[in-house]
Symmetry: C2
Subunit: 212 residues, 2 copies
DNA sequence: TAGATTGTTAATCGATTAACAATC
DNA sequence: TAGATTGTTAATCGATTAACAATC
């Protein structure tokens, strides 16, 4: 048995790759797929794919490949996403409203159920069937509804304070879009930084130019 | 000399970490900072920080640490971001408009200079000083303006076709926000997938619950 | 049976960390 | 000088890949 299984903690790399396999499977129409086929979608190696999958059991058939539906459901279980997740948006500015307007996460069973803000002009509004409440109502809202994840899309100036409050309300998962870095003992925080992605791309461009 | 220097290609991991150091330095007010101090911000190891930095030269002073300003400028040079980058937004829907409205990237010298769409109701509009053009005008626009990066925020149904067109217009850097996976020989593509982040967080939550 | 592809081992490769002499 | 911290080596740790017997 693998160490990470004893620890109940999947390494991030494996989670990320499994998510990618999961997405490929969701788009696959044939009933069987080979590790080579999955790998070719991702520019990786078939051994990598087989190894990742075999960590959790024997899901394939030699000579044939993997049953797409079966593997899909198994990865869902492994990732722990074989359930629905309720998400609230904290801060309904540019990015926050974009998330409220977007309906694409539902396919993966992430349901955005409400928005929260402090701006009186926004409170009470309904965007894409999702109501915006005053942030002070969050505590009550969490008591009456299941809330798994809060997406933090407030300006970084107020982010720290608000994230603490959100954790205090009992929300366990935080997707932090603000520039602020913060870790809390009571919950799991994942930082999401668009600037870093721009920098990474710029760096790749700058480096590639050298070789041309 | 390191292999990646001969190849003119920084490994992604190092780029990401250097970007993080860069952001910490940008917020540091003292004039010197130790590797231990940088590491503590990131939950990493001081040896890691020193090793990363020392790959590119000797920037520190034993017993004192690193000169913040000097190191900041050096990382900027190493990452190749000691210049401005012009960015266009392709697809001015929810996410696209949010990017157009946002001004925070300017600090890192990423200038969003225009948006492109096919919707007649949007074309001609000006958001946050940024004009929206018809996508057919992109080719011409690229001839008259320096465009380094295109952020693709169109629905995934049309993403492949549009990304090919964008590459054809001569734009070398593509930040792909759509669910479509595509690689092109002529340009550098970086995929950016919010769903994967949600899945990663959900997985962390699901796993942590097991241990509690 | 012949061809294809799995699951798994062993080998390789790369990344992280501990430790410490050198230096301010 | 004493204390602090760098730059770098060597040791450890983990991740990827090649290879192939087993199996459909």
């Amino acid at each position: 048995m693998k160490l990470f299984m004893l620890k109940n903690k999947l390494p991030n790399k494996i989670v990320t790759r499994l998510s990618l396999y999961y997405q490929i499977l969701s788009k696959t129409t044939s009933s069987y797929i080979s590790s080579q086929n999955i790998a070719s979608h991702l520019g990786t190696n078939s051994a990598q794919v087989r190894k990742d999958i075999s960590l959790f059991g024997q899901f394939g058939i030699p000579g044939k490949g993997y049953n797409v539906k079966k593997l899909y459901l198994n990865i869902e279980k492994i990732l722990g996403i074989d359930k629905s997740w309720n998400v609230v948006i904290i801060g309904c500015g540019n990015l926050g409203s974009a998330l409220l307007k977007y309906s694409g996460f539902k396919e993966q069973r992430f349901n955005i159920i409400a928005g929260f803000d402090i701006d009186k002009n926004k409170i009470g509004k309904v965007i894409n069937n999702r109501k915006i409440y005053h942030i002070d109502e969050l505590k009550n809202f969490v008591k009456k509804n299941v809330v798994d994840i809060a997406a933090i899309t407030v300006p970084s100036s107020s982010a720290k304070e608000i994230i603490k409050y959100v954790a205090d309300c009992g929300i366990k998962g935080i997707l932090n879009f603000s520039a602020t870095q913060i870790k809390l003992p009571k919950c799991i925080t994942l930082k999401f930084d668009l600037t870093i992605e721009f920098i990474r791309l710029a760096c790749m461009l700058a480096n590639s130019k050298l070789t041309q």
